[in-house]
Subunit: 225 residues, 4 copies
DNA sequence: GATGAATGAGCGTTCATTCAT
DNA sequence: TATGAATGAACGCTCATTCAT
């Protein structure tokens, strides 16, 4: 059974530069798969192909490892979307669809999506991370959506809806999909995910877009039902 | 069974029947407050006013205690909403608002809401519970909403939207509020929660309701925008 | 080799009252024998006949266990000597010999003596204990000796020696014996320890006792040879 | 020795000969400062300005490093004092004061003093070192003092005191000062250390020096009060 | 039934030592 | 020779679970 001693023991590899990313990747996968508490430090190390001691050479504690995983996973994501918004020329509805697409590419369709589930459970235990998340993720994202909505209203594309509530209604399905990829609520799966996203945003937009007035080209978007 | 009533001194046996509920209530509160892993068995016992040994007299393990908490908290909630749907007479939009209201009363505004956060993190570790949740909670709720939407479409109240996607868009803000009451995303707080709920459902309904044709009375719902 | 599983496993004994003392005794013995760092918590537990977990039921950390050992070992020792001094009637030289005797009985000839060796090495790492030791052990003991010397001088038994230096010269051989029972310097062993103690105190007393005259020779002391 | 000054590029080999001493100096400082267990190998290396691997190039283990530190620090100290004693001409009391002075210069006022504290705690774990210390430090020093006392007695300078006990009483304050510089017992500080030392030796000498007569009072010594 | 003292497997973390470069 | 990344045995401590009372 214990053929441990028989194996020739893999050689030590020196890769100081690559190690942090390897460890973060292994940790992200395990945190997402098993949650924070059930992820053991030697498991992370083994999955990254190193020993437990090596893990602690790069991250001084499990806490810090988790924080590093979150920061590395979520950093620089919002900035891109914001840039996009600045440069956008077309319809506001199109802008919102584009933002949704970016989100899907960078978060929704990646391990980062699963990280949100862990964050939901663990953020209260990591105040520092809580602040990081609020400042670096929530605030910019909220601003992004709010501004887009305001723009749509200003340009007469949308009815004057309450910004906060409309924003929440837009974000909820996206965020929920990231949080709960089939655990609590199975998302509809009759179409490829990117189409699905578009469909939902579309439904929501219908709820806020201006009707009576001069936005007939929107009706043509999908054939006016 | 025992000749309890004959004995002149029932010194400590009292409340024996209430014990399970008390333990479940204590466990629910702690699981919601601290998560599964961070909830310790002696804390549960202490909060229920008994000793650690007694807890194990009623539930053979922490796992089983958790399962019992989930079952006890979520059982019989769906049935009521289903009943409601059967008897409903008015507009489908009104029906959906009523279902939302019930959900808010029975889940959203109670500890059960917090339980969803824990479930999201722990369900994958409890396959048995996973099945229970899928069968007893998700399936009926999904059916409820789907049927209501179908009814609305059949009666010409709504456009013929894809059922699954519309259903998800309806449920997402409700479920998200239960899961994440301000941890990941702060819900809008400019109005009391029950009004807020109505506003969001309203926005969504706007996205699916039939326009051109004979559903003007819907517009009257809140003043025709 | 591993006949562990064959042994019938000793029964759990419940002795909440006795446990603290048993643990302190085991810990004292091991701390003295191996020092603070080399004493492992499960060793202490095993020597006390309990499991590692039980140790932590009574003392929340190795630090606290050590502090408790020191306090329990040194408390109430000084008070007795002080009482003695108050009531003493005879010669001051006799008083000093008596104090030395008490010290030998309560510290010098017991495990407490070995504890001083550990204290010497560890006190700098335990500031709280450092204060306890300074307040509860050093200060009273110093006062005790200083007052006795002053009394001897006042009563004309001793020459007017510098109090501090004489005090240190008196205490040094006693304390050194406690610290170093043969490790660094083998104490003379040609006579039973209590006699030995008396002999050394006697030598010191000779150095301070008043001689017949008014001690004019103090200046030319060594010209007498 | 090496043609160091001739070479135009001494890229890294320089100081190769000095390495052992630098490592010993760094290790001595840390062992004294923090004790054996709390001194970490990479700290020693860093303080010596080399890497951890280099340390192990010179000393195969922490144990051996410690032994080397002790040997290097204590070697050749006793021999000098012995020489001194051989050549001494004056009073024996003067000789003892001189030995004390040497001790103060070479041990008491240097890092070597602090090493004694560590030795006291660790010698039992290093039997080999124990033997070295007994043979190279204690035995010569004991001989030194014993011979001086015997000489004093032979020459009629001192009363015929028991040699061992007198020797211990002489050494105790010196050794205690080295061991415990204020940790367990604060030495008197009203005068500069070298005067202090003289004062204490003086007090002790008083206890053993021969008085004018044939010391008949020895029997009724304490009746003098 | 009820208690809570006792257990021990298991975790996060450290650090003396090794070895590929 | 010198480096410092890598190792892994070992420690302090936790906590779900057991069981004598």
């Amino acid at each position: 059974m214990t053929e441990k001693s028989l194996e020739p023991k893999p050689p030590r590899r020196r890769r100081k530069e690559a190690r942090p990313q390897e460890l973060l990747a292994a940790a992200l996968a395990l945190f997402v798969e098993k949650g924070y508490a059930a992820t053991h430090s030697d498991e992370v190390a083994r999955r990254a192909g190193v020993s437990k001691g090596t893990l602690y050479l790069y991250y001084p504690s499990k806490d810090e490892l988790f924080k590093a995983v979150v920061r590395a996973t979520l950093s620089n994501l919002i900035a891109e979307a914001a840039q996009l918004a600045e440069q956008h020329q077309g319809t506001t509805a199109e802008l919102l669809l584009q933002i949704g697409g970016i989100w899907w590419e960078r978060i929704g369709s990646r391990p980062a999506a699963g990280l949100h589930r862990v964050l939901l459970a663990e953020l209260p235990h990591f105040p520092e991370l809580q602040r990081f998340y609020a400042d670096e993720v929530v605030a910019p994202a909220d601003q992004l959506f709010t501004r887009a909505l305001q723009r749509g209203i200003d340009r007469g594309e949308f009815r004057p809806v309450p910004l906060d509530e409309a924003c929440y209604a837009l974000i909820a399905p996206l965020l929920l999909r990231a949080l709960d990829n089939g655990t609590l609520w199975a998302p509809p799966s009759t179409m490829p995910p990117e189409r699905l996203l578009a469909t939902q945003i579309d439904i929501l937009l219908r709820g806020i877009e201006r009707r009576d007035g001069p936005a007939p080209e929107q009706a043509g978007r999908r054939g006016a039902a």
